[in-house]
């Protein structure tokens, strides 16, 4: 498709395949044929996830943690469950239902409802993640197993689906079963329903106080510093990183000594190709932009269905921030340098992934 503006980095290709490319996540990932990288098969970094049954592999975490194999949702009624674990699953599901109905569950100070996220909301997002966008995750081993870390990603796609997919990626693939806590724009917390779900998914307002508090608690925090500039940019500017705010995320990470992990997301740009922006309408509605795509709003709700692009999420090498003196967070020069370093690394990886990409949809 329209990847014409991409400059190939041949030298990076060789370096990338040696050092940065993790193993293919999908054992049966022959969809892309022998084109670019399937040939490298199980790469040097080794598999971070067992191949067969990723869904199950993920659910092993909750089993050991809280004796809950998986949650049979009360409304689902397939008939293909294995006989052995069925009774246990029904019992666990009923126990879950009992806890929910009686309010006997816990949330943290930010309103993060871990149980609901793990058992219900992730199950709703997973089909989108696995079947619709067929997300491929690389470099998950760059996320530390414990301690605070700040994941900085590019932002695109008109609707912030990329953040949600990144959350599923970390949730389903990280061996230490880490949960990503996203920082969201204030608009999210103004809208009804959206704010409720965002809080329950563990998102919080993108402000230095909240980010620092989460990092101090040793949480994995995800931020998209481009904000509305990135997500609402026209289709012609796809994969061009916008300005990274004022670099507040760097000083937050510096203050907490948390490593910064650059993350590049390819595929989200094309889900809603934004060819126009109804600015007046956006101002009336109080939104930062009102997207016009080839299908939306012309086809009504049907036009709001995202295009089924193929996604790649690559987590890059962590940039340590603990070696700096205490006053480094106040140093604007260092802050701009670090911001640029993170930005360059994300942009570089984006180009690299785009060169490797065979097609937008496959």
């Amino acid at each position: 498709m329209a990847d014409a503006k991409v400059i190939p980095f041949d030298d990076d290709r060789s370096r990338g395949s040696a050092a940065q490319r993790p193993a293919r996540r999908r054992g049966t990932g022959s969809r892309r044929g022998a084109h670019t990288e399937s040939g490298t098969g199980t790469g040097e970094m080794g598999e971070v996830q067992p191949l067969p049954g990723r869904g199950r592999a993920r659910e092993d975490g909750p089993v050991s943690r809280e004796e809950k194999p998986e949650q049979p949702q009360e409304r689902s009624s397939g008939a293909d469950g294995p006989g052995g674990g069925l009774e246990r699953r029904v019992a666990a599901g009923l126990a879950f239902l009992r806890r929910r109905l009686t309010g006997d569950y816990g949330v943290d100070d930010f309103g993060y409802d871990e149980e609901l996220t793990d058992q219900v909301l992730m199950s709703l997002l997973r089909p989108v993640y696995e079947k619709y966008f067929r997300v491929e995750v690389k470099g998950i081993e760059n996320i530390p197993a414990k301690g605070g870390a700040l994941i900085v990603a590019n932002h695109s796609g008109t609707l912030p689906l990329d953040g949600l997919m990144m959350q599923v990626a970390v949730h389903d693939h990280h061996p230490a079963d880490r949960h990503l806590r996203l920082l969201a724009a204030d608009l999210v917390f103004v809208l009804p329903v959206v704010n409720e779900l965002a809080r329950k998914l563990g998102h919080t307002l993108a402000c230095a106080e909240d980010a620092e508090r989460l990092l101090a608690q040793g949480e994995l925090v995800g931020v998209m510093p481009e904000g509305f500039k990135g997500i609402g940019k026209p289709f012609s500017e796809r994969y061009k990183l916008q300005r990274f705010g004022r670099g507040g995320f760097v000083s937050t990470a510096l203050r907490q000594g948390a490593p910064i992990i650059p993350c590049s997301i390819v595929g989200a740009e094309e889900i809603y190709p934004m060819i126009g922006n109804a600015k007046t309408l956006a101002r009336v509605l109080g939104f930062p932009y009102f997207p016009l795509t080839p299908t939306f709003p012309w086809l009504g709700p049907l036009g709001a269905v995202p295009l089924p692009t193929k996604w790649t999420i690559q987590f890059g090498q962590p940039i340590p921030t603990d070696g700096y003196p205490a006053e480094a967070a106040e140093d604007p020069m260092l802050m701009f340098n670090l911001t640029d370093q993170v930005r360059e690394q994300i942009q570089h990886t984006l180009y690299k992934l785009l060169v490797q990409r065979r097609s937008v949809f496959f």
Binding site: R54, V90, R98, T102, G111, R126, L191, N195
Partner: protein, 352 residues
């Protein structure tokens, strides 16, 4: 020791408790109306803190500690919002003026509220004592509390020899609580704002009395009891959790409808469902209590959930008691176990 607002239930409890402390010689309880409850051996002086008489009371008694508990959201008995505001703001000004004149006062404790932070979607998730609110409360009790704290800060500047302690309490609940939030939870059906599930924090009455006691005595070794402190139980409850634990169903209403209904109810004088109450029940509020633990040296005995459980015990059973729901689920579980299980499986099970 002089205690204002003693006619209230919480003030009365504090007066009764503080007399048992050996450091306290005499407790003078002050309020505009005589209390309905007994005050132990305390001397009650009927004085309106909005009048200058409070200065005479303070001068005559020579109190060395003043505990100002008459900053409240609701009127006692009859009285409208204007009276409450006057008691809160003018009363505090009079009391502080009296304290400034008095050479004997060494310690001032003010009961404030976490309402001073307001409640807005653009605020950080957790407030510390130094967080400036994004939108200052526009009226009602929250604005009173902000103004009261302003006067108290001014007083602390003018009298640096007086130890001033401002205690910002989260929503106070307990078996006998008579706060607006308690009366809200006593409704048979809880109206909520559609699309919002606020995070709430509670503090138990027992903890309130205990913290007031710590603040009104000399600080213990290694602690400091002057300054501003957030006081709240550990943890957070969502409004949906509260309603489920109480067994009271919720009726989600759209935000404009709730605001309109709130003003209608207020006009009719049925209950004081103030705008800031609606904001709290829309956006919620959570405060950080590290200062309370580390500087004041107090660990609450009740968490937010335990406080709420204690409050729920004092309430009658709701329309759908959680025990009944749990029992129903248990019966289904027993049925499923007997029948060998229904063919239920995971819908997102896509790997096989």
């Amino acid at each position: 020791m002089l205690v204002t607002g003693a006619a209230r239930q919480l003030g009365g409890r504090f007066v009764r408790r503080i007399q048992r402390d050996p450091e306290v010689d005499r407790v003078i309880a002050v309020d505009a109306v005589p209390p309905a409850h007994h005050l132990g051996g305390a001397d009650f002086i009927q004085a309106d803190i909005r009048q200058a008489t409070i200065a005479r009371v303070l001068a005559e008694t020579g109190a060395d500690t003043v505990v100002h508990m008459d900053v409240t959201g609701t009127a006692l008995g009859s009285g409208n919002r204007a009276t409450v505001k006057e008691t809160n703001v003018i009363g505090t000004m009079q009391l502080l003026g009296a304290c400034q004149k008095s050479p004997t006062v060494k310690r001032l404790v003010v009961k404030s509220s976490t309402n001073v932070y307001g409640s807005a979607p653009r605020d950080p998730a957790v407030f510390t004592e130094t967080t400036p609110p994004k939108s200052l409360p526009s009226g009602g009790f929250a604005k009173d509390a902000v103004e009261v704290e302003g006067y108290v800060r001014g007083f602390a500047r003018r009298r640096p020899d007086v130890a001033v302690c401002v205690l910002r309490f989260a929503n106070i609940l307990g078996p006998a609580a008579d706060t607006p939030l308690a009366s809200y939870f006593a409704l048979p059906v809880l109206p909520t704002v559609f699309g919002y599930d606020p995070r709430l924090q509670f503090v138990h009455e027992d903890d309130v009395v205990e913290v007031l006691r710590i603040a009104s005595h000399e600080p213990r070794r290694g602690t400091l009891n002057s300054g501003t402190f957030n006081i709240a139980g550990d943890g957070v409850l969502l409004l949906s959790q509260c309603s489920r634990r109480l067994g009271r169903p919720t009726v989600p209403l759209l935000l404009p409808a709730v605001t309109w209904a709130g003003s209608l109810v207020r006009t009719l004088g049925m209950t004081d469902f103030s705008p800031e109450q609606i904001r709290l029940l829309t956006h919620g509020r959570v405060v950080d209590t590290v200062q309370m633990r580390e500087t004041l040296g107090y660990t609450p005995r009740y968490t937010t959930a335990e406080t709420f459980a204690d409050f729920a015990r004092g309430q009658g059973p709701g329309l759908v008691p959680p025990e009944a729901l749990a029992g129903a689920v248990d019966r289904v579980a027993a049925l499923a176990a007997r029948g060998g299980g229904r063919p239920t499986t995971h819908s997102a099970d896509s790997t096989d």
